[in-house]
Amino acid sequence: MSSREVSLATRLRRAGVSDTERALSLIQQIEHVAGVGLEDPALAVSYLADPETGLLQLLRLAEAARDSGHLEDLVALRDRRAGARLGVLLGASVALGDFLVRHPEYIADFDAWPEDDALGTVDQRRVLLEAVGADPDADVPVASMAGSDGVAAMRVAYRRQLMRVAAVDLFEDVPATVFPAVAAVLADLAGAALEAGLAIARADEPDHALTRLAIIGMGKCGARELNYVSDVDVIFAAEPAEGAEDDVSLKIATRLAAAASRACDRPGPEPALWQVDANLRPEGKDGALVRGIGSHQAYYERWAQTWEFQALLKARPIAGDPEVGQHYLDAMSPLVWNAVERDGFVESAQAMRRRVEEHVPAHEQERQIKLGPGGLRDVEFTIQLLQLVHGRHDPSLRSRTTLDALAALRRGGYVGRPDAAKMDRSYRQLRVWEHRLQLRKLQRTHLMPVDDADKRVLARASGFATVEYMEEVWHDIRRDVRAMHLEMFYRPLLPVMASLSADEARLDDAAARDRLAAVGFDDPQAALRHITALTEGVSRRAAIQRQLLPAMIGWFAQGADPDSGLLAFRKLSEQLKDAQWYLKLLRDSGSAAERLARLLSTSVYVTDALLASAEDVTWLGDTAALSPRAPERLAREADAILTRSDDADQCITALRGLRRRELARTAAADVLGIIDSVQAAASVSTAADVLIAGALRIASAVVAREEGMDDLPIEFIVVAMGRYGGSEMSYTSDADVQFVFDGDHPDAASLAVKVAKRIQRLLKQVNPQPALEIDADLRPEGRNGPLARSLASSTEYYERWSDPWEAQALLRARPCAGSPELLERFTAMIDAVRYPAELPASALKQMRTLKARMESERLPRGVDPRRHLKLGPGGLSDVEWTVQLLQLQHAHRVEALRTTRTREALHAAVSAELISAEDAAELDEAWVLATDLRGALALRGRERTPDVLPGDTRELKVLAEIMNVRDTGAELLDRHGRATRHARAVTERVFFGWESGT
């Protein structure tokens, strides 16, 4: 081995060749075939994206050139700029290299192109039409080469031009600078191909003159920002030629359109170019391929959906009859800008975007340049949305091309200069990667490679020294693009004084109002005032809020009631203006600000709770802090409060505060979807348990003191009844209870009543912390009976006097506070009553009658029964009575039925085969839905009683949002209707024992 060869191997390795031995052998063979030596091969390959492939392709090319007599052309390129171009092309695109190998006669092209070849200098349409023997200057060019010959000729001509574009693109030092020109030429080339395809189609269609067909480019082709390889989106529009019949014209046009598409996308000896995709047409793939302009117009006026108008934004005639194309455009463009004024346009555009995102397979998310988070689609969407919002008042924004639109937005002051520049850079870089990936094999791909070797090729092709550096930039871009959507959309709403720098965009009032109204603010004027109040000034607070607000406005906008959300945020911030932790939390926590925005813009209940005790905002940064506290932990806390102080007022205030805090925590977690409504109800009930147990302790101590006793000579318990007993309380429910005591002391009864009254007073008296209403009407004899009853008297009463419904009420009795020993005895006593060995037929009849009467009497006047969540058909009461009937009938035998909780009992009934699983599922669904709805109504906080579904579908939609389901208001109402209808049918069968539904 000579010293020259040793150093060449080293230099090749430095130039990026991994298998130097093979490279050396390839070089040798090339030199042998060409008959000349290569000038400094190491330097040459250092420019190639894939040196090995480049060399191999050069060898194949040399052989092909030799065999076809074009070797001279190849040798002539040696050591010249044209030769370097060829080399770079071979190194970056295997597919175009293969094309040259197939057609070595075009090697001479590299010599023929000017030294400083630029993009956009060639009339593509003319070149491709001439290639198929059509006259480019004719009004209606018809090919002289028809059929497969024409198609092949067109495709070869297309690829020759494509090769030239790629050669210029790849040779460019900074590919991002030429990207817009490349994308534009590619779109022109696609148009030219369709034009030539159409000329070929006409050659086979003798009556082609009867129709005037225009091909409208959509998507990236329409926008003149096409990829190297992607589907070309088109729409066909045709008008009859003068004197021709409409349907004849359409028939011919349809044949022409299909043939022109086939010319581009059918497989053939010269491979297909790309897929022609006409699915954006009216009615999609089910619609007619070609329509008249009137028919297009009628469709868009009547049927088209939001995204279809968005698609029209890019429409541009690219081939066929230019006049018809222009007519089409004139007819359609006003529609786009009218559509923007539709209600919810922005919202439905955003929903569409989310759906697209959800469709990207998870394993591709991280590699998707186009659809993944922070990808091209994000950039395009952000820009399009801004265009749509402001374009109806500012025609200067109505550009098809993404980067032009961005520039127009910047010039118009709708987007900040630095943001625009960042967006522009990111977009170009993403597109350059996409192009380089596609060029390699001329394949439609948008995925970053996984393989190290492929990554290396991509880095070299797009001008990055190392793979690591390229990946770093890729991550930065994705993060930036993701963040910029909210920034670009909402930042400019901040008043000028609040701008972070002079380069920031600032919208005038009208534009700001447009933007706020577009995302759902009802009173944009007021919203602007709040924004100003929050961000003006030089305080640290204002400075941080300026940082936070753009994103927060976006989150408010996603909530049900953006206006109140923003107002509440302003109030909260003013209340907490001196709290350092508050802004720090919002700024630094990943989730607190977003959660706060959601709570404030959906739930009046939570908003009030947070305004009452602003420090609770701290939970929002911490999911664990939002989860309900365990009952033992709350009991310990209550115990500590009671041990610390003897002062009754102080203690009860602290305990009531504790309950308020737990309610707020539960409500926040409920709205945020951290817990469901059934868990929430249990947590609300627990908070009541803790408070009542504490109140009992305080009351006993106070009464003892007043009576001059050390300890009260009685045992005393509180028994939770009704929904409270079932741990199914809602945020605003009263607590149903009864009081029971035991003791031989002569004053036992009066002492017990004093304790009971004191408990009620403690829970109700005026106090800064919210009250808990106690309802003791479910006690024996109701309001006529003593407030507290002794165990002995209760026992006697239940054994002798009670009605079946009282046994039923006892099913929900759950002793919740007081002497453990008495709790046990009481439970044993009532178990005998509520779980009877047999339910007499008379009792069953009485229950059924009572229920039927309740249905007609207890419903409030003027309320549609079907909207009543508790008492309506299939409502909570239907489900609960059915379950309770099963309990009365079978709990004596089936121990699992002995529970105060509806769902537990229902599940136990299924296990014991007392009810079919299907019936139980219907009951369960209706019960859970009604519970969800009641919870949501209470959280929404608009109605006084959360029992009646609102009639307004907008309010229903808000409930759906609080419930974290995707239904529209109407869908929610429909779902409720269905669930209750089914539950009612089960109730009629199982509870009432009716055979059919009448």
Partner: protein, 444 residues
Amino acid sequence: MDKQQEYVLRSVEERDIRFIRLWFTDVLGILKSVAIAPAELENAFSEGIGFDGSAVEGLTRVYEADMLAKPDPSTFQILPWRGAEHGVARMFCDISTPDGEPALSDPRQVLKRNLDRASDLGFTFYTHPEIEFYLLEKPQPGELPKPVDKAGYFDNVPRGTAHNFRREAITMLESMGISVEFSHHEAGPGQNEIDLRYADALTMADNIMTFRTVIKEVALEQGVFASFMPKPLADGPGSGMHTHMSLFEGDRNAFYEAGADHQLSPVARQFMAGLLQYAPEISAITNQYVNSYKRLWGGAEAPSFVCWGSNNRSALVRIPIHKPGKGQSTRVEYRAMDSAANPYLAFSVLLSAGLKGIEEGLELPDGAEDDVWNLSPAERKAMGYQALPSSLSQAIEVMERSELVAETLGERVFDFVLRNKRAEWQAYRAQVTPYELEQYLPVL
């Protein structure tokens, strides 16, 4: 403002229209109308006209409900019977809630929703009804209805009222853009039939609503009275609305398969199987009045039993004889429906029953070749021919338990229809009829 709306505004101005009637339909299929002045039109397009939406709930409405009526500009028509000068025009409306969601209680929206569902499966639904009705002399209180002539099936009555009437009516229908395919004298005295040329189901339902109004108006002009009552004469045939249906996939008739039995594709067979399976549950929609069941069970050619046949005039579902080379016109005919049905809801349940058949891949039972009326009950039982409900009460009972109908109509409309129908049955049951008086009073 889109082009179509602009067109309407321009026409209103050029034609000197003084009032625009906004039409909508209640759950019973009764046409309702709000008249607005031209000045309000622009607002009606952009915002809708607010009204008490409970008007669509039929006779049992209870609670008021704010709704918006938004005219559909593509349905703009000048009402020809209101004269050329200072004319009156109409548009059908879509009813929506104040936040712009389609109102679940609007029958037109019910049909739209079901057509959307079909379109999600790639189908367009076409219908073509044969509408029968009676021409009667102006009704006098307490008297039985008197037909205007005594002619029969396809009779040509020289200078007959009916003849003139049909010519006049058809001219008026055509002037309103409704194409008539066929018209003739029907079997009963004074009974006429007019067939509308097939159209997509929504357009057709709109057309039927217009048709009924036009027929009534023309009758009034000619001093007679037209009625779509299902069975006005105890001893005459009832007025049905046999409806031909087909599904298209794009431009292709999905019911047609060359060379198959009756040229029926598997889709058509499953669609028919669905119709047969669900016919009893949808009866209270396709035959919605107490009176409807007097037609259904009044013999003649009324289909009372669930079966199908080709060219069998007693079958519920019939395959019209196929003409060679007319693949596009392959269709199935549902013969139970009567002229008083709410076309929006009736088309909805028919479509839905058929689609269910397709979705569930139901098997089509064997066709019936005999006249089902001439079979004995035992024979019918043995051959598996189920009967349709024999009264409104029975129909309600069956429908009440129908998931298909509830799903198709949506819970709201389902509820409204049930309430209305129960109330109607109650009211009917409370009657003491002349028949009873005649039969019982003298002897009991």
